[in-house]
């Protein structure tokens, strides 16, 4: 497998006007995984949109990394529940169709 494209954390902080400590906190909470090459930290490019989402939540809504952790967990839960709801609705719909057909 090819090595992922890496973005220097410092570059990210400059571009998005964020503190390095913010990235460190996200990493400590396990919300993002950083690569360390010769003691310099990088973010894989494929994780950039995930980090951007966390930055937006942090800057737009003034939410700290712990809050972001909670939000992400709840969003995961909402997604799972939504899938289950969709599946249940689909099953109900099919049951309804079946009844119509047999009468």
């Amino acid at each position: 497998m090819a090595n992922p494209k890496l973005i220097l954390i410092e570059t990210l902080c400059t571009h998005y006007k964020i503190e390095v400590s913010f990235i460190d906190s996200l990493s400590e909470l396990g919300l993002i995984e950083l690569y360390t090459v010769e003691e310099i930290q990088y973010l894989p490019e494929e994780k950039l949109s995930l980090l951007e989402k966390m930055i937006r939540i942090h800057q737009d809504l003034q939410i700290n990394p712990e809050g972001i952790d909670v939000i992400f967990r709840l969003l995961d839960k909402v997604e799972t529940l939504n899938k289950e709801l969709q599946e249940a609705r689909r099953k109900l719909k099919e049951l309804g169709v079946k009844e119509d057909e047999s009468f």
């Binding site: 998005y16 949109s49 937006r56 997604e79 689909r90 079946k98 047999s102």
Partner: protein
């Protein structure tokens, strides 16, 4: 074009202070921010509205201008003539002809005619555009039958043709990411991604659950009682089935590998589960009725 009451959008009085505006905006932003309301178009719309309201009311110059002309908005023509040249009129960007769910302008016509569309104060787009292209979100409707085979579709996204290979077995509600087909990156940043969410319409008599398919097969009374051979429909053709004698209504049979393809597992299929529904004969002739009577007597006699 309708007048927009930005004070009402933020739920604040006309004499609200700068701090009130900020507080009201932040409260609503927490509620409607698209990152905490995924796939919620209503929240997305509200978020754009409150951003627009905030952009005007939190900027003292814009607020002054809005307060001054906003009241006379019904006399828009006079207003436009009076101030001709002072404002920029810009057309909304071309939204392309696919899906229609993205690239909508972030501002209302009302805002653009008053302030131009240069704004750039949104968190969405504004900051991101400096570095990475915007992600596009689109929806694609497929028939269940189309999802059965790997096939290609050519989509037009913002004027660019994209050939998309849709692997067999894609699920309803599944989203795929097409890297680099979103908005163009700026200042050497990477392009955004295109996300396509699939909506499957079931145009068949089969019910699908993951890679399993379910269907009901009618069985005439005589085959159910005496056994025999029937022809049943599967998703890709007919199969002959042996029905054992004394088969009850509701009996299920599993046809291995006759279900739906497993996503991205070429050549692998789930099972088809058929449920027999025994159909009793109707419009019986006198002779048939008599024979059934005989059968009944025989059965009762045999039991006692």
């Amino acid at each position: 074009m309708d007048f927009i009451d930005y004070y009402q959008t933020l739920g604040i009085p006309k004499d609200a202070t700068e701090a009130d505006v900020k507080k009201a905006y932040r409260k609503l932003a927490r509620k409607y921010h698209p990152d905490v309301n995924p796939d919620d178009k209503e929240a997305d719309r509200k978020f754009k509205e409150i951003n627009e309201a905030n952009e005007v009311l939190s900027n003292s110059e814009k607020r002054k201008q809005y307060d001054k002309y906003g009241k006379d908005w019904k006399h828009a023509e006079q207003f436009e003539q009076r101030d001709s040249g002072g404002y920029t009129y810009r057309q909304r960007p071309d939204t392309g002809d696919f899906g229609g769910g993205f690239s909508e302008s972030d501002y209302s016509d009302f805002f653009e005619s008053m302030f131009g569309s240069s704004g750039g104060g949104f968190s969405q787009g504004g900051r991101r555009a400096k570095f990475r292209g915007q992600d596009y979100h689109a929806e694609l409707h497929l028939n269940l039958r189309d999802a059965y085979r790997t096939h290609q579709q050519v989509l037009t996204v913002n004027g660019e043709k994209i050939r998309l290979t849709i692997a067999a077995g894609i699920a309803d509600g599944q989203t795929i990411k097409i890297k680099g087909k979103g908005g163009k990156g700026v200042n050497g940043g990477p392009d955004g991604d295109l996300y396509i969410k699939f909506h499957l319409e079931n145009d068949t008599a089969f019910q699908r659950e993951g890679d399993q398919l379910f269907a009901t097969v009618d069985l005439d009374l005589y085959t159910a009682i005496l056994g025999g051979e029937i022809v049943a429909e599967t998703f890709d053709g007919k199969v002959k089935l042996k029905v054992p004698s004394e088969t009850q209504s509701g009996t299920k049979v599993r046809l291995k590998g006759k279900g739906f393809p497993r996503y991205k597992m070429e050549g692998e299929f789930g099972d088809l589960i058929l449920t027999y529904a025994v159909k009793n004969p109707t419009n019986l002739s006198e002779a048939e009725k008599q024979l059934f009577e005989q059968l009944r007597k025989l059965r009762h006699h045999g039991k006692s």
